[in-house]
Symmetry: C2
Subunit: 255 residues, 2 copies
Amino acid sequence: MSGWLSVVGLGPGAPGWLTPEAAEVLAVATDLVGYATYLDRIPPGPPGQTRHVSENRVELDRAYQALELARAGRRVAVVSSGDPGVFAMAAAVMEAVEADAALYAGLDIRISPGITAMQAAASRVGAPLGHDFCALSLSDNLKPWDLVLKRLEAAAAAGFVLALYNPVSTARPWQLGEAFDRLRRLLPGEVPVVFARAVGRTDERIGIVMLRDAKSDLADMQTVILVGTAETRLIPRPSGAAPFVYTPRKAAALK
Amino acid sequence: MSGWLSVVGLGPGAPGWLTPEAAEVLAVATDLVGYATYLDRIPPGPPGQTRHVSENRVELDRAYQALELARAGRRVAVVSSGDPGVFAMAAAVMEAVEADAALYAGLDIRISPGITAMQAAASRVGAPLGHDFCALSLSDNLKPWDLVLKRLEAAAAAGFVLALYNPVSTARPWQLGEAFDRLRRLLPGEVPVVFARAVGRTDERIGIVMLRDAKSDLADMQTVILVGTAETRLIPRPSGAAPFVYTPRKAAALK
């Protein structure tokens, strides 16, 4: 039997957002490797399929485990939330492949993309990513905090909409507050900010505030935050519905 | 009958990337509105479903047509390639809603996200978007070219991977060449650049070159281009397979 490894994106959680390609990989894999929270979202597989549940958060360990299984001839699905190529497992697998290329670079390795959190969040409120945008992880686990701030400020000053991943954690309680403070120096206080938590899951919660009122306690580890530009606006809706948020396709020259 | 409008993303073209949610909307809509190329990808719908084929490229006209149908009680799917929230129809629909809010803001309007071209392209080559990245349209139809260049340079200088949409057209023959020239002033010549054309369709073509060799004639209107950072690298593979492209999750402080 010839092994393979497929890094699969589950999307944010709603079954309607799991691609047929990802579902097919999950159905034919002999082994699923993933963080417990993500494996719990997948219905039982065919008889004999083995689940390798990871309780820890060390992505690189999971990548090596999956590569070893594929090398032993197993058909392995590495399970990621969202899109594995966006702040998820694809880069960790590549890191392991590069580190032991003689063992792993010849394996059959594929990636199945998925809907990522910023897309799900955007779809719930209108078209906040309507033009150019950046996706930025606020975690300083893998890069210095100064670099996070530099990227945040460069993107906001150039008029990109921002999608902020990993905005806060128990180990990073103050960083998001500082990020909002920096953004308030560059952008008008009226800029819409979307806090989108657990989109597509039963505990989904969407909040829209102005940048001047954005606070870190509106986010948790399951939140993605969309920060508009000076051109992003709200469209009020009748009968108490939440407003639409949208960023026009047109942009004027910067002053 | 109560009308609604759903802006649906088909993904880049492969059936395996069409979400179940989008497929369901297409199955229950009474009317499909879209550009001919996208409608041609959809198998025939239920009896009585009407297709409103648009030959022109004026997104706003299509948005008004769809909103009027929904207002008349039809169940309308506005069809977009990729993700409707990423350089596609969601923003055009919002623009029309804002312009005639009294007529349209109370309608039942939803968005179904889809896999967008940069995700499909990334999945084919490894993990090029492995950390922070920007999505930027190179079209100067709706914004001045100076602003495109400013965003391009700001993002590259801050260490974002770049996904370049709408890189070239017959009306915009020289812009991409200038964009590569600007990037070469900011980034090493060895930075990997991925030209991904028609990913997921029968005429898919993927090319990987170094930034110093990137030329505009490697792209057409169906191409998305991924430009790495100074940290993006190739992993050679045995037996003539294309190398993996990946951007490490870790990033050092900027000099």
